[in-house]
């Protein structure tokens, strides 16, 4: 998603939600968010930037906020700003504050996206369970945050076929922990579900038995005694016939292949002595659209209740 031209709203909200990056190349100005339905369009109050909603993180390759060097700072007045992005490393969150001019109580919250892991062995179904978070060597692991499955938690692979990094749509999971407020789950825009990935490893594949190589016995070298060669008169060698080259033979093993027996509930396409893999079917990924986030209401602190002495009022 690219902001090539200035965006300005007064008494309205802005939500920029991208599957991957949000590029801001021009001015973004928001003055006072709105909760009036006709004005708010159901968007969270204020400015919302989401980069990485399609669940391809972690890592900046999964989507982050990119400000053009010449882009003016985003100006927000009397409204909250919420940023959801992929950091390079969870241990070193990005700080976008320098890219904003926040006035009259405008506040900025910055959350790193987390991607629960749903990998499991192939079982022919698409349902899965999420555990922990996906990490890379660069991203490291998030700290102080855990994944909590709610009573209605569900996660579904895009495809039941075995494969690496298969897309997952899920819901009903939340974050907990002392640092949970620094993170967020990668949500698909305008829907209540989230996105991540997981690897479906092939099932029923018995790893080959690896026979360790047998080391030959170590025989200490024997130094032969010096031998004085006898003096032999030169001999004219007889003509030698060219060597007989054997024909090329395919190195087929002498052992028979195992017989492939299809499982009754799997429509396997047997070809020769193998199985033709079905074509990869990827579920369509909905186009990123703006997401509706629950608006964060300010945490008001109620003033203390005064204690008045009894007094005549004006009836």
């Amino acid at each position: 998603m690219n902001v090539y031209h200035a965006i300005t709203t007064t008494d309205g909200n802005i939500a920029l939600c991208a599957g991957h990056d949000v590029h801001i190349d021009a001015a973004v100005t928001l003055t006072r968010g709105s909760t009036i339905p006709a004005q708010s369009l159901g968007l969270p109050v204020g400015l919302t930037l989401i980069a990485g909603a399609d669940g391809m993180g972690p890592g900046v390759g999964g989507g982050t906020i990119i400000f053009s060097p010449l882009a003016p700072p985003v100006t927000v007045t009397v409204a909250p700003v919420a940023i959801f992005y992929n950091p390079v490393s969870y241990a070193a969150p990005s700080d976008f504050r320098t890219r904003f001019v926040l006035t009259e109580g405008a506040a900025l919250s910055q959350r790193m996206l987390l991607f629960p892991d749903g990998g499991r062995a192939f079982n022919g179904a698409t349902a899965t369970t999420l555990n922990g978070f996906r990490t890379t060597a660069v991203s490291g692991a998030p700290t102080g945050v855990t994944l909590v499955a709610g009573p209605a938690a569900s996660a579904t692979f895009d495809s039941a076929a075995a494969g690496a990094d298969v897309g997952i749509t899920y819901s009903g999971y939340t974050l907990a922990g002392a640092n949970a407020d620094q993170y967020a789950l990668a949500g698909s825009c305008c829907v209540g579900t989230f996105r991540t990935r997981g690897t479906i490893s092939p099932a029923g594949v018995t790893p080959p038995v690896v026979v360790p190589p047998v080391a030959p016995p170590v025989v200490p070298p024997v130094t032969p005694p010096p031998v004085t060669p006898p003096v032999v008169p030169p001999v004219t060698p007889p003509p030698v016939a060219p060597p007989l080259i054997p024909p090329f033979v395919s190195p087929l093993p002498s052992v028979p292949y195992p017989v492939v027996t299809p499982m009754p509930d799997l429509a396997l396409d047997l070809v020769d002595r193998g199985v033709r893999m079905p074509p990869y079917e990827a579920a369509p990924i909905p186009a990123p659209v703006e997401e509706v986030l629950a608006p964060a209401r300010p945490a008001w602190v109620a003033p203390p209740v005064p204690v008045y002495v009894r007094k005549q009022d004006r009836n």
Partner: protein, 208 residues
């Protein structure tokens, strides 16, 4: 501030009160005054209630509407108001005995007040709107039959609802079932709409 999504104001005609319904929280009918509509929108947009329960007192139509901290309407009822017309309390009125408050000074002032539960001199539970000005909201007083306060609350017209020394009188059921639960253990905001000044003058002007 999503509560403005349901910002269809609900009010009550005095006729429904005459029919024996002292207050309502869910009547779909009727139309609130435009001033109530405007102030309620403003509260929602600015979160002026700061997460506190609030009341809107409409002096022109002699009614009060109660809302929870999220802006959900809790109920509405007719009110009795100060006999005098105007939007500003006379200086020192809160320290005068009742007998020293002339009819023209018996004004229910307009403005935004931080209110809390308390007791009057007789130990009766009231909602202090402006303690210094002795301004409160309380169950309708019936100790002076000549005032005919219950009848005034029950009539259709708001014209006869000006009888008090400045305090806001509400039906007992509204006070104990709506106001007291909403304001117990917390302060709240009372917005009293003006009758001679504009909303902008009273509420929307820049501070200072």
């Amino acid at each position: 501030m999503l509560y403005l999504a349901a910002a269809v104001l609900i009010a009550f005609p005095h006729s429904s009160l005459a029919a024996g319904r002292p207050y309502s929280s869910d009547e779909p009918a009727a139309v609130a005054s435009s001033a109530v509509d405007e102030i309620r929108r403003w509260i929602g947009e600015t979160a002026d209630n700061q997460g506190l329960p609030f009341l809107i007192v409409d002096k022109v139509h002699a009614q009060v509407l109660a809302f929870d901290p999220e802006g959900h309407m809790l109920g509405a009822a007719p009110v009795l108001l100060g006999l005098g017309h105007g939007d500003v309390s006379p200086p020192g009125v809160g320290d005068r005995p009742l007998a020293a408050i002339g009819p023209e000074d018996r004004i229910t002032p307009a403005g935004r007040f931080v209110a809390s539960m308390g007791e009057n001199l007789g130990g009766k539970e009231i909602l202090w709107i402006d303690y210094d000005a002795a301004l409160s909201l309380h169950p309708v007083i019936t100790t002076r039959p000549v005032d005919r306060r219950l009848q005034r609350l029950a009539t259709v017209t708001p014209q006869d609802n000006r009888i008090s020394y400045g305090c806001v009188n509400v039906p007992r059921s509204f006070f104990y079932e709506v106001v007291e639960p909403a304001f117990t253990g917390t302060v709240g905001i009372v917005y009293i709409l003006p009758e001679s000044r504009s909303l902008a003058d009273v509420f929307f002007s820049a501070p200072g």
